[in-house]
């Protein structure tokens, strides 16, 4: 009988108590974990995005935000203010020069604009044929000619293609450079892929990642000199350094294979033991009968 009394009493107390609950954690929880999608990047919460996607803005401006959202920059949390400056957290002051707002660069300022972060690449580019032509005529290829401005994708050898390069010169020259890059680029791609795989499989790859990043950045900077001979001359150095990383990666894969084999060995031992024990237990049961 007691149970029929206790359950309704508990439910009643819980519901009455609910009326007295406070809600600060609950509100935070609902806002941050229940109602909002998880994948919103930090950069999204900014005055720049809010304004440039509002209905009052020119649709062309909407396109810029769409392009940025699909870019390599967005994937790496590089937001509007990281390039254009300003105060994204403060809508009223976001575009004030006093708050570091730079706006869109003039054509000749583009290398310096991108070079704020890509320092070594800017330096090599300015000394290259591309950079010199650009500075002399103001019409040569700048960063955005090859990489775009907002829809910036992860740089790869595919950027060197007939369609893009033949806008200024014959593709043969670019092809030569592509061939010089091929071996090192292939190694870079394969190492990048394997490091990601190892990380997912629980192997600590921090040291190899740092070495990879260093070589990757140096090689990309070298490429921007557009000097085929220099790229060829240094390729063997980079190949050697990357092979050292590859060897460490191979060791890690061997270690993973050992772990799997060791676990499989133990698995088989316990399967065998369980069969033996099962048969033994059956023997005792039959003895009893």
């Amino acid at each position: 009988m007691m149970r029929y009394v206790i359950i309704p009493v508990i439910v009643f107390i819980a519901l009455v108590a609910a009326g007295h609950s406070r809600a600060s954690y609950r509100e935070t929880f609902e806002k941050e974990f229940m109602l909002s999608p998880w994948a919103i990047a930090k950069g999204e919460i900014s005055a720049c995005i809010q304004c440039h996607t509002s209905d009052s803005m020119d649709p062309k401006m909407h396109q810029l935000v769409r392009e940025w959202r699909g870019s390599w920059h967005a994937k790496n949390n590089v937001s509007c203010h990281d390039c254009h400056g300003g105060a994204p957290e403060d809508a009223s002051m976001s575009m004030m020069h006093q708050r570091g707002f730079k706006g869109s660069p003039e054509n000749l300022d583009i290398p310096g604009f991108c070079g704020t972060c890509h320092i070594a690449i800017e330096k090599n580019y300015l000394h290259s044929g591309h950079g010199k032509t650009f500075l002399d005529t103001g019409e040569g290829p700048s960063c955005v000619t090859c990489h775009g401005s907002h829809d910036i994708q992860r740089a790869s050898m595919d950027i060197i293609n007939e369609h893009l390069c033949s806008q200024c010169h014959t593709y043969e020259r670019a092809k030569e450079m592509k061939q010089a890059l091929f071996l090192v680029e292939s190694k870079l791609n394969s190492i990048d892929k394997n490091l990601k795989r190892l990380k997912v499989l629980g192997i600590a790859t921090e040291r190899q990642e740092q070495a990879f990043f260093r070589n990757h950045a140096e090689f990309r900077a070298l490429f921007h000199s557009i000097d085929v001979d220099a790229v060829r001359a240094r390729s063997s150095d980079y190949t050697q350094k990357l092979e050292e990383i590859e060897n460490e990666i191979n060791e890690s894969f061997k270690q993973l294979a050992f772990r799997r084999n060791f676990s499989a060995y133990l698995f088989l031992i316990f399967i065998g033991l369980s069969i033996v024990v099962f048969l033994l237990s059956k023997t005792y049961e039959e003895d009893k009968k």
Binding site: I10, S21, K42, L201, G202, A204, S263, L266
Partner: protein, 365 residues
């Protein structure tokens, strides 16, 4: 030589008498199946967790700046450290599954009824403490998955009226998950919870030894239709001696447990370690998808589904309360054969089905 060693031990410990008294003379009832050994498997699984946990403790550093790297060192640099870490990680999940199976088995046999109410209560309490041990353990490696899972799970109690925010705040040691939370969870995971679990385990086993194992109601329904008013130990003279018959069944299930453990380690070593578990905790970066561990998916989904979250958490608390004290809620005059109690069987199956549905829903929502 072997006989001399055993004789030497026998003279000093009296092993023969010990085995006779506690294993040969202790008889198990007819109908004790492999399922009846799940409690023992839980005990072994707990010992495995304790041993591997101690091994991890030798190298683990409970500090936000060092915790992640120390676990990475254990996994990648300490000889066979990966094995201890993976056994501890996978074993922690298997132990929850084994306890759930054990509880379902006890429920279906209606073994919780008088005089075994305290055994059931201590069992459920242990289950809740094991879940707490899992919650506290998932933060210790200080990786993204653990950090954000803790953020979510430590917020759930906040829905409780009046005391909820206090519980959340106490769990975290403040408003957010920080180094204080890590320190708190570490002490709970390594000392406080194991001490309580061992104490309850001792009581649980003591009660089983005193009362004897319960008979299957399907085999001997007449023996327990009227629960005794005085203490009466089920000696099961018609049953089998615990050693070797039942002990071999236990040993077989323990071997199956280890085989399953190493099966997971061989083919799905990272099943409970998603890619984010290899990234150091970063309070500023929320991962794309955060879900609680599989055993918390059902309560998590219930809270998400029920529009009034206070009602959601209240239902969970009431459910836990009823589960824990179920022997006192169950009808006293009904028999133990669940086939003759369709209402009870339906209730059990509905709860199980709902739990499964909410778990799967939580997995894909």
């Amino acid at each position: 030589m072997w006989e001399r060693i055993t004789h030497w031990i026998e003279v000093r410990i009296g092993l023969e008498e010990l085995v006779n008294k506690h294993l040969r003379q202790f008889r198990t009832p007819k109908g004790a199946t492999f399922w009846s050994t799940l409690g023992f498997v839980t005990l072994i699984a707990f010992i495995v967790q304790a041993v591997t946990g101690i091994m991890l403790l030798l190298y683990y550093i409970p500090h936000p700046e060092h915790a992640f790297n120390s676990v990475q060192t254990i996994t990648n640099e300490i000889p066979y450290g990966w094995l201890f870490r993976l056994i501890h990680n996978v074993g922690g999940n298997i132990i929850v599954a084994v306890i759930i199976m054990h509880m379902v088995h006890v429920f279906l046999r209606v073994s919780y009824r008088r005089p075994r109410e305290i055994t059931w209560v201590t069992g459920v309490l242990m289950f809740l403490l094991v879940l707490l041990a899992c919650i506290t353990g998932q933060l210790l490696p200080w990786h993204q998955t653990g950090f954000w899972q803790t953020t979510v799970t430590s917020t759930i109690p906040a829905f409780l009226p009046v005391i909820g925010e206090g519980i959340s705040s106490y769990m975290r040691g403040g408003e957010f998950v920080t180094g204080i939370t890590l320190s708190r969870f570490f002490s709970f995971h390594v000392v406080i919870l194991p001490v309580f679990i061992v104490a309850l385990m001792f009581l649980h086993v003591l009660l089983i030894r005193r009362q004897g194992l319960s008979t299957s109601p399907l085999i001997e329904p007449e023996t327990e239709t009227t629960p005794p008013d005085d203490f009466k130990r089920d000696a099961h003279p018609e049953g089998q001696p615990c050693f070797p018959h039942f002990s071999l069944k236990r040993l077989f299930m323990v071997m199956v447990y280890f085989a399953f453990l190493f099966f997971i380690l061989t083919f799905f070593p990272n099943i409970f370690l998603p890619p984010e578990a290899n990234i150091q905790a970063d309070p500023m970066t929320t991962p794309e998808s955060i879900r609680p561990a599989w055993y918390f998916l059902a309560p998590y989904q219930i809270i998400k589904t029920i529009p009034n979250d206070v009602l959601g958490i209240s239902l969970l608390v009431i459910f836990s309360f009823i589960l824990m004290f179920w022997p006192f809620f169950d009808a006293r005059d009904a028999g133990r054969n669940i086939r003759k109690r369709p209402m009870l069987l339906s209730l059990g199956l509905i709860v199980l089905a709902l739990w499964l549905i909410f778990t799967i829903w939580g997995m894909y929502s």
